[in-house]
Symmetry: C2
Subunit: 309 residues, 2 copies
Amino acid sequence: MSEWQFIDWIRSRTDAAHKSGPKVDPVILGPGDDAGIVTLQPETIAAVDMLMDGVHFELDKIDPALAGRKALAVNLSDIAAMGARPVCALISLALPAKGGLNVGQKMMEGIMKLADEFDVSILGGDTNSWSGPAVISVTVLGEPLPGRPTIKRSGARAGDWVLVTGNLGGSLGSKRHLTFTPRVKEAAFLNTHFELTSMIDLSDGLATDASHIAHESHVAIRLDPAGIPVSPDTQNGSAAQRLAHAMTDGEDFELMFTAAPEVAREILGKQPLAGVRVTHIGECVAGNPQLTWRDGTVIEPRGFEHFLD
Amino acid sequence: MSEWQFIDWIRSRTDAAHKSGPKVDPVILGPGDDAGIVTLQPETIAAVDMLMDGVHFELDKIDPALAGRKALAVNLSDIAAMGARPVCALISLALPAKGGLNVGQKMMEGIMKLADEFDVSILGGDTNSWSGPAVISVTVLGEPLPGRPTIKRSGARAGDWVLVTGNLGGSLGSKRHLTFTPRVKEAAFLNTHFELTSMIDLSDGLATDASHIAHESHVAIRLDPAGIPVSPDTQNGSAAQRLAHAMTDGEDFELMFTAAPEVAREILGKQPLAGVRVTHIGECVAGNPQLTWRDGTVIEPRGFEHFLD
């Protein structure tokens, strides 16, 4: 199959998806031209993530559909963390020359199934083959929720409470990193009904990601060790070891967000929120942008990071 | 250097670029959050291309800055082919664990230098390291020129003339594929002053790309072999061999476009157009969507394609 036939196969799938919906499609031009065209107003919100075989998934162990699913899901999580609505995605693939057609089609099946669940259209892409391992890069474009602001990492204020959705830790061991539900609906519910001051999705581990909020918002963040919702996936080990997993394993793709105490109390009173539990894990306080436990012990921003040399 | 320090380095460079311009920046939020935010109206035009070491460039032979430059340039060429204006780019990188920092920084230097030349901002990205070869995926977002339509592959009509910018063939051998100027300014000039009916950028070779226009527009395209602007880069070989190179080498990144005869004549009368020569190479005629020479010989849509099995 040539690259162009592969594009035709994607078009046949995405054309059908476009036709199935009763609502107005914001996608004006889908795959098959030099570029795609979409109507996004008043702002375009864009996130990109690249996933590589052997690093973010292992094709010798899993269905490639799960790798494709994850590549879209991590981007939906990023758009959710802005309090925004994902609309469409562009997919670029590097596929192994041998067996790449099967891998590519399965990846696209995984992508398109999740895209359908979240009403996301395929706007375009680029397909390549080579002698290296499979690589997927997904760009998701979104737009603000009607009449609502986007939620940045920089808006937390001293006094705000720190909340988190779901449970943390053990995502890689339990394969949750391949099957997690991106918190698009929960973020939309939160941003529609409450004034959040900042939000981030937990991709690198709470210790690292909470530090990003602290640094971007110029506040200190004080966490309650007893308050961290440690996932049952962090099985085995002492309570301290399980807490360490919850803080640093990464790939939870839950939301951490901040709000004024009265808003936070109201959110906590509506449990479960869109089906997901929200936990109060700490507070923002005036001071140098760092992360501590409530007793003042500094938490190092350790988690998953790509180191370059 | 950690991934986050790499992002900080990019932010320090892009912040400076943002501050240097006197005009209103459409980028509302750049690198460093879960997603970037940009104002693009009335439509968002998006293109993506993935380039891999050993396929689209060879890092053991060239400065990585040229690989980065090419990754952005091919996308600017796609946006140009829509008759649109590129505004911002998202960059995802897979870098080799050994020496990847140097490669990544040089790639970003090449990207940012070309971005500055075309007033394109860096909206966001994703940086990874692995044991595989370097991969760059660039997504460019653009917007229509004020008050002008976008130009699709599907608008050519029987009777239209077929025109092309620049010279074709020999791009890979001459390294022009690394240093070409994307025809952003030329496309803007054309779309601002003339009614074009279709346009495509020549990435896979004229034989393949003209076929795309024929198929999307449901017209036959008849080319004049004597009219094809064969590049001096197709040195050696007979005239027929050099013509074959012009038709199939690919990676020229010139524009092929169609317009009504009276419009085409006016364009040809304004030579050189924004500094680049435009050549009349053929016509669209009613009939099955295929490509022929004027004598009726069918031209097979051969050119560079990634084959998948």
